[in-house]
């Protein structure tokens, strides 16, 4: 759990979601609610809008700094060199200007800068409607840009277009719902302190509109998620068996808790807004929802960072002089390393991965090698402490194209069988 990229990603997504959520909340929820209450509350409304503007500024600053660190860490990974070298040799700028991740990051940074520059209009305006449309366009650009640098964005041809749209909608919905919770809580806190009848009107309209926004957002999150897992059906397999799957389960739990709280807000507290301390309870509930949402974003940070982390391990695991093959199928993947990869006696190591490059658990594994023109020889592999499977003594009789085959029993019912050619070099 020490990967810095996980925290950087989480901070970046959280900051982006808050910045976007405040803008979307202001335009779609707060502005109509304030308009309905008339001009009497102008001083408090201005104070609230000033605080929202500061929240957006702070969030954009965190997003920019975390985005820059993300880019730098990415450049370090691409060049496989220390940050000081990568920075000195201009590698960070090359990654920024020559990869789609970098180019989209620059566009998002420009949109964020324009949004930040426009915020004084929100602070000053009694009616920020002219500001709203432009701000929403900028905020959406900042929010959904990462969809183009994710899996769907990297998928060739038309096959990537539908999942790309689903990814973008997923980010937009997360921003509108989770990002709207902090400004909602701030509005509720003001309403609770003021205890002025007109604030009751503002609260009722705001809560009603946010509830509608929440229903649309949760539906969009589900629909876009279902669409993408239809496309990514391989990821459903290892839910309970792998640490990756367990993190997904944790996130499902956090989401379920958020939906549970939102349901209490919608069906129990909202009808009671006119009476007693329902506003205060709604405020506390919104804060709790926010906390759960940000915990879920931290999980997203780790989920996203797991793949490259596992891959770095896999990359580092190919010793000099080894014969290596990566075998890829829809059901799972295997890395086969034979050291030394030449005629003589060698040791074979097999690592199993699922479609997301998380380790794939197996109960047993048989490794088979077939020499060129010869008969297959099989060995039961033993599992090492690091989870890899090993055959300690593998006699390699001749050089050439061998066939490596794996038959892994994943559980009582499922098997993973893979094979691929592997080249054995002549004796030295």
């Amino acid at each position: 759990m020490g990967d810095p990229l996980a925290y950087v990603r989480a901070a970046h997504f959280a900051a982006t979601i808050v910045a976007a959520g405040v803008v979307i909340f202001e335009v779609t929820v707060a502005a109509p609610a304030f308009a309905a209450a008339g001009g009497v509350l102008e001083a408090e409304v201005r104070r609230l809008r000033r605080r929202w503007a500061w929240l957006v500024w702070a969030s954009l600053a965190v997003a920019a700094v975390s985005g820059a660190i993300w880019l730098a860490l990415l450049a370090v990974g691409i060049y496989d060199a220390p940050i000081a070298d990568v920075w000195r040799d201009g590698g960070v700028w090359t990654v920024a200007s020559e990869t789609r991740f970098g180019q989209i990051s620059l566009v998002r940074l420009a949109a964020a800068a324009l949004l930040a520059a426009s915020l004084p209009m929100l602070k000053r305006a009694a009616n920020p409607r002219p500001w709203g449309a432009g701000a929403v366009v900028l905020t959406i650009a900042v929010l959904i840009g990462p969809a183009w640098t994710g899996h769907a964005g990297a998928t060739p041809g038309a096959a990537g277009e539908f999942p790309l749209a689903a990814d973008a909608l997923h980010l937009l919905a997360a921003g509108a719902w989770l990002g709207g919770l902090p400004p909602l809580a701030m509005l509720l806190a003001t309403a609770w302190r003021q205890k002025e009848p007109r604030w009751a009107t503002v609260t009722a309209i705001a809560v009603q509109r946010f509830s509608l926004l929440g229903v649309i957002s949760v539906s969009t999150l589900l629909a876009s998620g279902i669409a993408n897992s239809w496309y990514e059906v391989g990821t459903l397999n290892n839910l309970f068996a792998t640490s990756y799957g367990q993190l997904v389960l944790l996130k499902i739990g956090l989401f379920a808790a958020m939906v549970g709280l939102a349901s209490i807000n919608r069906f129990y507290l909202t009808p009671r807004l006119a009476s007693g301390d329902a506003v205060l309870r709604l405020y506390h509930s919104s804060l709790a929802e926010t906390g759960l949402g940000f915990a879920a974003i931290v999980v997203v940070g780790f989920l996203g960072a797991m793949a490259p982390a596992s891959h770095a391990h896999h990359h580092a695991a190919i010793p000099e002089g080894a014969a290596f093959v990566h075998i890829h199928s829809n059901a799972g993947m295997a890395d086969v390393t034979i050291v030394p990869g030449r005629v003589g006696t060698a040791r074979a190591t097999i690592r199993l991965w699922n479609g997301d490059f998380a380790p794939l658990a197996a109960e047993r594994l048989t490794f088979t090698l077939t020499p060129p023109g010869g008969q297959p020889i099989s060995w039961p592999a033993a599992q090492a402490q690091d989870g890899s499977w090993q055959v300690d003594v593998v006699p390699l009789s001749q050089a050439g194209n061998w066939k490596a085959a794996i038959d892994a029993g994943l559980d009582a019912k499922r098997r993973l069988t893979l094979d691929a050619p592997i080249v054995i070099e002549p004796e030295q």
Partner: protein, 118 residues
Amino acid sequence: MRIRILFTSLFLATFSNVAAHAHAFLDHASPLVGSTVASAPHEVALTFTQNLESSFSSVQVTDANGARVDQGKAQISGNSMRVGLKSLSPGTYRVRWHALSVDTHKTEGSFTFIVGGR
């Protein structure tokens, strides 16, 4: 139970979305991985499972002695990578590729092909 599975799937669907990650793996190659070709090919063409970053992806082809037999910089477009070859004599050749997918994951791999049925 059926309902529970449905809801579990729905929630999982929601969240596996954001977590999805891909790496550019070799989908197919010409000459085919591990194949023996009768006549010397003029180029190696690789197709990957993801779109590639052209500035950070490359391919090299070497003969049995480790000498380069490709014609230098590969042409990279979308998810394909191709590099011209010098004229090859019969023998075993190794293709080594490095790829950076558009979603910023690095992969690498190698395979051999044989010219002339040796």
